[in-house]
């Protein structure tokens, strides 16, 4: 008599992690009327906070298991159970998914806390937290999924949550347009993902992760179907992560409230693409061509985004482009098969990017807006010391200043990339160039916003008066009101609200010390933790030697300091330099400012023909063909047919009598003929 198999507690904890935000969503959505004031915010933060704690419990219980046994599958029920296809509602609890769970729930919790205060006066308060919890649930579903089907479900939910949150202030036309744009581009990625799923099922016979990864070992390298599947996975990843050419939605997505930008478009959703590639690494290792394509596009993106961030003036957009750029680094990392480096950068990026967005939220609140141009900002250092400190820490981590977290993670990726050799060497050098640009634009932000002559709002704030302007759309200047569907009347800065400080402080701390877990030669926390997942990788032991890594760190640090020094020189020492450079290189400046004119290109290539096709459909096809011919024709035929019947109903007695007689004649004739 065998004892029943013991289900490791990690699995239970994983289910708790997954289901708590779902409970939060449903609870807040259904009971929002019972949640006065900020209760919805506390409730939403509580569910995600508990989810984070459950994630920590899952981490510890996973660590108790032997390394080979750290891939746990738990199925809720069998969704499809035919002979050829078996799809369960199953989650996979392994180090990679627990890593993502911790990052997602941790950062989400802090952002929930930040939002308690930031959206304090918004009429859609409860709705926001319901949506945020829904997003966290979807993201957790995505990372915990144990098969491709559930991944796609989570992927689609995340897209939907992103749409809902970008268009949160739904009475703003710019916001709803941005939401639709994000959704449409995400759908392109969804299509890639779904077709990739078909190809995987066709070639490997199963959609289950562990089964598929087992089966792909029998597949020869460079197999056509697998390469195609990987390329399509890349399409999905690029759409979700905002890489070239499917990146245009991310800057526009800054229309959403700042916590949304912090959570979705910095820390979690856009990293789903990186997670996807890391998760499907057995397939990518069988298709090095696809991985090379991914790496190239990742590098192109990081250069492109860095150049645009250099000249943009909208504060949140600069940070958005820097997100695109940094994710390019992560994609480069995982496509160069440096998985733990990529994931490490994912983690540190989540910290400092969320921190940057939170700081940006505080600054634009000081202007009385929800977004703003850095041309209108300056000298906020004295008025907002806390925001200044945290923002600078975030910018420093972004730039890769020595000993901050970004320093270790970014340079680890570049070291691995250079170690790969061949094509990757070129990519690595491009990454170094972009690192200089990154440091430059990061501190361009700091110097422009916090240094220099204080703008009127900063002076008022220094005297204790928070700016209050007529509500208007920051992008178009349109007048608004503060009712449902628009931002609330009050704007909150970090200095004055405890929840915002309580959220930003831990992130600042993590941004500083987060690099400790992976100091080359000293600690290898991330790598060790993630090793069971990537144990089947051919490149697991192909690490650059310590010497190379330290050299890389040194080079990276020097480049970062160079970039910061250049920014200091341009913006603080010789303030007119930027202006004159802009005038002299006006063409280049315009090219970068308009994001390499890609939006305009897409408009001409796709949007206008689609709109013309739609117009053609409405006027010609719909009106002439469908309405007149088919609908009109059908009803016309019926009308004509019944006209005959109607004609008989004349109301004239004698006409009816005639018809009677006619009938009698006909009957008589029939009987006459029938009887012979």
């Amino acid at each position: 008599m065998m004892p029943p198999p013991v289900i490791p507690s990690a699995v239970w904890w994983a289910w708790v992690v997954l289901l708590l935000p779902l409970v939060g969503t449903a609870g807040i959505a259904l009971g929002w009327k019972l949640l006065p004031g900020r209760l919805a915010g506390y409730l939403g933060s509580l569910t995600v906070g508990l989810s984070f704690l459950a994630g920590i419990a899952a981490y510890f219980s996973l660590e108790e298991l032997p390394p080979e046994g750290r891939k746990l599958v738990s199925s809720a029920y069998t969704y499809i159970g035919t002979g050829n296809l078996n799809v369960d509602l199953s989650i996979l609890v392994d180090p990679l998914s627990v890593f993502m769970v911790l990052v997602v729930t941790g950062v989400s919790f802090l952002i929930h806390v930040y939002s308690i205060a930031y959206l304090g006066s918004d009429r859609g308060y409860a709705r926001f937290f319901s949506y945020l919890n829904f997003f966290v649930f979807s993201m957790l579903l995505l990372v915990l999924a144990g098969n491709v089907v559930l991944l796609i479900v989570g992927w689609a939910f995340v897209g939907a949550a992103s749409y809902l949150l970008i268009s949160f202030w739904y009475r703003r036309d710019t916001a709803t347009t941005a939401g639709i744009k994000a959704f449409v581009i995400n759908v392109i990625g969804d299509v890639g993902l779904v077709v990739a799923a078909f190809l995987i099922l066709d070639r490997l016979g199963t959609l289950d992760y562990l089964g598929a990864f087992e089966a792909v070992r029998q597949v020869p390298e460079g197999d056509g179907t697998i390469v195609a599947a990987c390329l399509l996975l890349l399409v999905g990843a690029f759409a979700k992560s905002g890489q070239l050419p499917l990146h245009t939605w991310l800057p526009d997505a800054m229309e959403g409230p700042t916590p949304v930008s912090a959570l979705i478009h910095a820390a979690t959703m856009v990293t789903a693409g990186v997670y996807l590639i890391a998760r499907f690494h057995p397939l990518f290792e069988r298709a090095p061509a696809a991985a090379a394509v991914g790496a190239i596009i990742g590098t192109l993106t990081l250069l492109f985004a860095a150049t645009v961030a250099l000249v943009s003036t909208d504060l949140k957009r600069i940070i958005a482009y820097s997100t695109i750029s940094q994710i390019g680094y992560m994609i480069l990392g995982v496509c160069a098969f440096a998985y733990s480096a990529g994931m490490f950068h994912l983690m540190t990026h989540a910290f400092f990017k969320a921190l940057l967005f939170m700081g940006a939220g505080s600054v634009v609140s000081a202007l009385g807006l929800t977004n703003g141009s850095i041309d209108r900002m300056g000298g906020f250092r004295k008025a907002m010391p806390f925001t200044f400190a945290t923002f600078t820490i975030g910018a420093g981590a972004l730039a890769g200043l020595p000993l901050l977290s970004g320093f270790f993670s970014k340079d680890e990726i570049i070291a691995y990339t250079l170690h790969r050799g061949g094509l990757y060497t070129v990519l690595g050098i491009c990454a170094y160039v972009a690192a200089v640009l990154t440091a430059f634009y990061a501190f361009r932000m700091v110097f422009r916003v916090f240094f220099g002559e204080p703008v009127p709002e900063a002076e008022q704030l220094a005297e204790g008066e928070l700016a209050h302007v007529e509500p208007r759309n920051p992008l178009t200047g349109e007048e608004e009101d503060t009712d449902v569907g628009f931002p609330g009347p009050e704007h909150h800065i970090a200095e004055r609200s405890f929840p915002m400080k309580a959220a930003m402080a831990p992130l600042a701390l993590l941004a500083i010390v987060g690099g400790v877990v992976a100091i080359p030669g000293v600690t290898a926390g991330v790598e060790t933790f993630l090793e069971p997942t990537f144990a089947d990788s051919a490149y697991l032991l192909d690490r650059p030697p310590e010497g190379e890594q330290i050299t890389g760190l040194v080079i990276g640090g020097v480049l970062a300091l160079l970039g910061v020094a250049a920014a200091y020189f341009v913006y603080l020492r010789r303030p007119g330099l930027a202006g004159s450079a802009q005038r002299r290189l006006a063409g280049v400046h315009a090219f970068f400012f308009n994001a390499w004119y890609l939006n305009q290109l897409y408009d001409r290539l796709f949007v206008r023909p689609s709109r013309a096709a739609g117009r053609f459909g409405r006027t010609t096809v719909e009106r002439v063909f469908v309405q007149s011919t088919i609908v009109g024709g059908a009803s016309g035929v019926v009308r004509a047919g019944t006209a005959l019947a109607r004609a008989i109903q004349t109301g004239y007695l004698r006409a009816y009598a005639l018809l009677l007689l006619l009938g009698v004649c006909a009957l008589a004739l029939y009987f006459l003929i029938a009887s012979g």
Binding site: A645, R646, I648, Q649, T650, G651, Y652, L653, R654, A657, L658, L661
Partner: protein, 99 residues
């Protein structure tokens, strides 16, 4: 003197009556033509009664006469009502049930 003569005669009268119903506009005359048709039917019934040596046809004819009487009563009552309500005594005017 075969029965056929009587039957053909009854058919003739029936058809005259039918033509009259269709051609005349005065409801009174229409009723009269209806009477014609009924009587033609009676004639046919009685012819066949004689042909089979059966009294059933004659009883049938009597009942038809009863029915004709009732119908005349109702019809004339309708015409009187029409007249009383100042409606035109014209079948073509009574066309409100048109579709």
């Amino acid at each position: 003197m075969g029965i056929a003569w009587f039957v053909v005669l009854s058919a003739f009268i029936f058809c005259i009556g039918a033509a009259g119903v269709l051609t005349r506009r005065n409801p009174l005359v229409i009723l009269l033509c209806l009477e014609l048709m009924l009587n033609a039917g009676n004639l046919a019934l009685l012819s066949f009664a004689r042909a089979y040596g059966n009294g059933d046809g004659q009883v049938f004819a009597l009942i038809v006469m009863v029915v004709a009487a009732c119908e005349v009563v109702i019809g004339l009552g309708l015409i009187v009502a029409m007249y009383r309500n100042k409606l035109a005594i014209d079948a073509d005017e009574m066309s409100e049930l048109r579709g």
